[in-house]
């Protein structure tokens, strides 16, 4: 950026004199740490605009602060990138509506006697119109869940299909690309048998947003929160206030992963064939995240497990036992990530989980 400022402006800027009264070290510290009330922060800013000495002090103090960890920096960058996409969110409802309309017009999905949910599964091309069969969802369960869906939910239920169709039109996803699998319209009674719906990152820049929109909506409102998906292919899905109606799932090159409603971690190489994983662990799992070959699963008592080979071998991560239940796992790449517990504490790693630091 050009450092030149017209001399008259520079001189006028420099003529501003702050006077002899300076903010205390206490106030300057609070200013640097952003803990001053707004009114007082304004006063300090006003002073800083006029006082070269105090400006130098706050910049020296700020520069001497610990650098944010690599994970934080990457996550901040990823967040900044994501924020940039927010301006496109205004188009998301219109695009979603258009996809739904196209889906309804060109390929009716809800036929009498068929399950209401048409599903695209990773690696499988979509079937021809009117012949597409659900791959994993048990029809009986689907019919059980029908009463839970109202008419608007039926329309919403089409979105994953439309979305999945977009993906298959594009091409088979990159093996390194992590997909977020979201399935939520499972019945509240009985064990969860989710249907994965692939939502590739490559579909659109705001695929996370579309992924959320694509979740079929249960009859009663849930409070699910998508908190993952930052950076390249990281994803996690976190339970909301109704764990029974909630599934946390993710997929990667090594298949599909999910946490069942009763807190078990499960893996499927092909959709529907779920196998319990880490069954010898007493933890109740809350969240699973996939970044390439790295699988992260967290749950009660600060339990955090990592596999770097797609789930073949697992290691328990050295988080404090009193860390609380892990409710969010965010990795920007294989090395940098942050986990958040239900108590609000945050732990970060910048070496792929070898060491964790409370932040």
């Amino acid at each position: 950026m050009n450092r030149q400022l017209p001399k008259p402006i520079k001189e006028a800027l420099a003529r501003q004199a702050a006077g002899d009264v300076h903010p205390s070290a206490d106030a300057l510290t609070a200013f640097v740490e952003h803990s001053l009330p707004q009114r007082e922060s304004q006063r300090v800013t006003e002073h800083l605009a006029q006082c070269a000495d105090c400006r130098e002090v706050v910049f020296l103090a700020s520069n001497a602060m610990e650098e944010p960890s690599g994970a934080e920096q990457k996550l901040a960058a990823a967040t900044a990138t994501r924020l940039g996409w927010r301006r496109w969110w205004v188009w998301v409802p219109a695009i979603a509506a258009a996809l739904v309309i196209v889906g309804i017009v060109s390929q009716p999905l809800f036929k009498p006697g068929q399950p209401e949910r048409a599903v695209a599964v990773k690696g499988l091309p979509p079937g021809p119109p009117n012949t597409q069969q659900p791959v994993t969802a048990a029809p009986a369960r689907e019919s059980e869940s029908q009463p839970l869906l109202n008419s608007s939910a039926k329309i919403e239920a089409e979105k994953p299909t439309a979305k999945a169709r977009v993906r298959t039109k594009q091409e088979k996803p990159d093996a390194n690309l992590t997909e977020t699998v979201i399935a939520d319209n499972i019945p509240r009674e009985g064990p969860a048998t989710p249907t994965p719906v692939a939502v590739p990152k490559s579909v659109s820049p705001s695929s996370e947003a579309l992924g959320i929109a694509a979740v079929p909506v249960p009859a009663a409102p849930t409070h699910n929160t998508f908190v993952g998906g930052e950076g390249q292919g990281a994803s996690s899905f976190v339970a909301g206030t109704r764990p029974q109606a909630m599934l946390r799932a993710a997929s990667g090159a090594h298949g599909f992963w999910r946490v069942t409603s009763d807190g078990h971690l499960e893996h499927a190489t092909t959709p529907g064939n779920w196998t319990p994983v880490l069954t010898d662990q007493p933890a109740t799992f809350r969240v699973v995240s996939v970044v390439g070959n790295n699988i992260w699963a967290g749950g009660s008592g600060g339990a955090l497990f990592h596999s770097s080979d797609g789930g073949q071998n697992w290691s328990k991560q050295p988080l404090a036992a009193d860390a609380g239940a892990i409710v969010s796992i965010r990795f920007s790449d294989a090395e940098h990530g942050v986990v958040i517990t239900d108590g609000g504490s945050q732990w970060g790693t910048s070496d792929g989980g070898v060491t964790w630091t409370k932040e």
């Binding site: 050009n2 501003q16 300076h22």
Partner: protein, 303 residues
């Protein structure tokens, strides 16, 4: 130079708030391990609150008390009182980071060590002849972290020392360069009062944050990254803000100059980025905002 402190007596309602807060948070504050009882904690808090605007405002006092770093404030006051256990905790927590911060500020090992050592002496309150021992930690009021406060105090000390050294060095260099008899150059540019007036008026109309950005970037030559770190935003945000502020400022100053009777050409010329008439002006000297002498500690009030 003095620090800005609002002082005022506590009215009875605020006193009650302070006592209630002390009773409620006594156990969490860690005061007990340093031999400070509940009344002692209330006294510390009274001292802190009495120096704030909220000294007579009950809800304000409550909000202020809940925002302070109570445990660190108690530690600082216990250290200032000479409690051995408190010093043990202080050294364990802050010794290493203090030296690290000093190094980051001074960027030279011996200077950093000297800076940190001298601050230690002040924190411990080494008494001068016949004077009462008073620790600098008494100035800490818990509004930011104790670690952050130590960094700020180090930075203040460094700015005071650095400026003194810089002046001495400049004189030495001037003598070595044989410039001791050099006549001061006159600024031959003829300043149009309309330009000065327009620039001053439009600058004054900016938001404080905008003026701070301009000063930090154009006067202090801080990088976008440094400013962004301080403001906890992305560099691109700072860049966009600066662009917007400078563009708008130029336009408004130009307009004001033309309203004052200057022709568009004269106004444009006055706002040229580089003017040959400026070449003989010692810009660094002209722009210096520093106050003479040490800026800090001169009459800073006790916490």
């Amino acid at each position: 130079m003095a620090s800005a402190h609002a002082t005022g007596p506590l009215d009875s309602a605020v006193s009650a708030v302070v006592r209630g807060f002390a009773a409620e948070h006594y156990r969490d504050s860690g005061a007990e391990q340093f031999g400070i009882d509940q009344d002692g904690l209330a006294e510390i808090l009274t001292g802190v609150v009495s120096q704030r605007d909220c000294a007579t405002d009950e809800p304000g006092a409550r909000d202020f008390l809940t925002s302070i770093r109570l445990e660190e404030l108690v530690l600082a006051r216990a250290c200032a009182a000479g409690n051995d256990r408190a010093w043990e905790v202080f050294l364990t927590r802050y010794r290493a980071t203090l030296y690290e911060s000093a190094y980051k500020i001074a960027r030279e090992e011996s200077a950093a060590r000297e800076l940190a050592d001298s601050l230690y002496a002040e924190l411990y309150g080494v008494s001068e002849k016949g004077k009462e021992r008073a620790s600098k930690l008494l100035y800490y009021q818990g509004r930011g972290s104790l670690q952050g406060w130590l960094r700020t105090v180090l930075a203040q000390e460094y700015v005071n020392r650095y400026r003194i050294t810089r002046r001495e060095t400049s004189l030495d260099n001037a003598l070595e360069d044989g410039r001791q008899f050099e006549a001061k150059e006159e600024d031959v540019s003829v300043a149009d009062p309309r330009v000065e007036s327009a620039a001053s008026a439009e600058l004054a109309a900016l938001e404080p944050e905008e003026r701070f950005l301009l000063a930090a970037y154009y006067l202090d030559h801080r990088t976008l990254a440094e400013i962004a770190k301080l403001q906890r935003v992305h560099e691109s945000t700072i860049s966009r803000k600066l662009e917007r502020v400078t563009t708008g400022l130029r336009k408004r100053i130009r307009k004001r100059m033309m309203q004052a009777g200057m022709s568009p050409r004269q106004a444009d010329e006055a706002l040229q980025d580089v003017d040959v008439r400026d070449l003989r002006v010692n810009v660094g000297e002209t722009l210096r905002q520093e106050t003479p002498g040490g800026a800090f500690y001169k009459s800073e009030g006790k916490g």
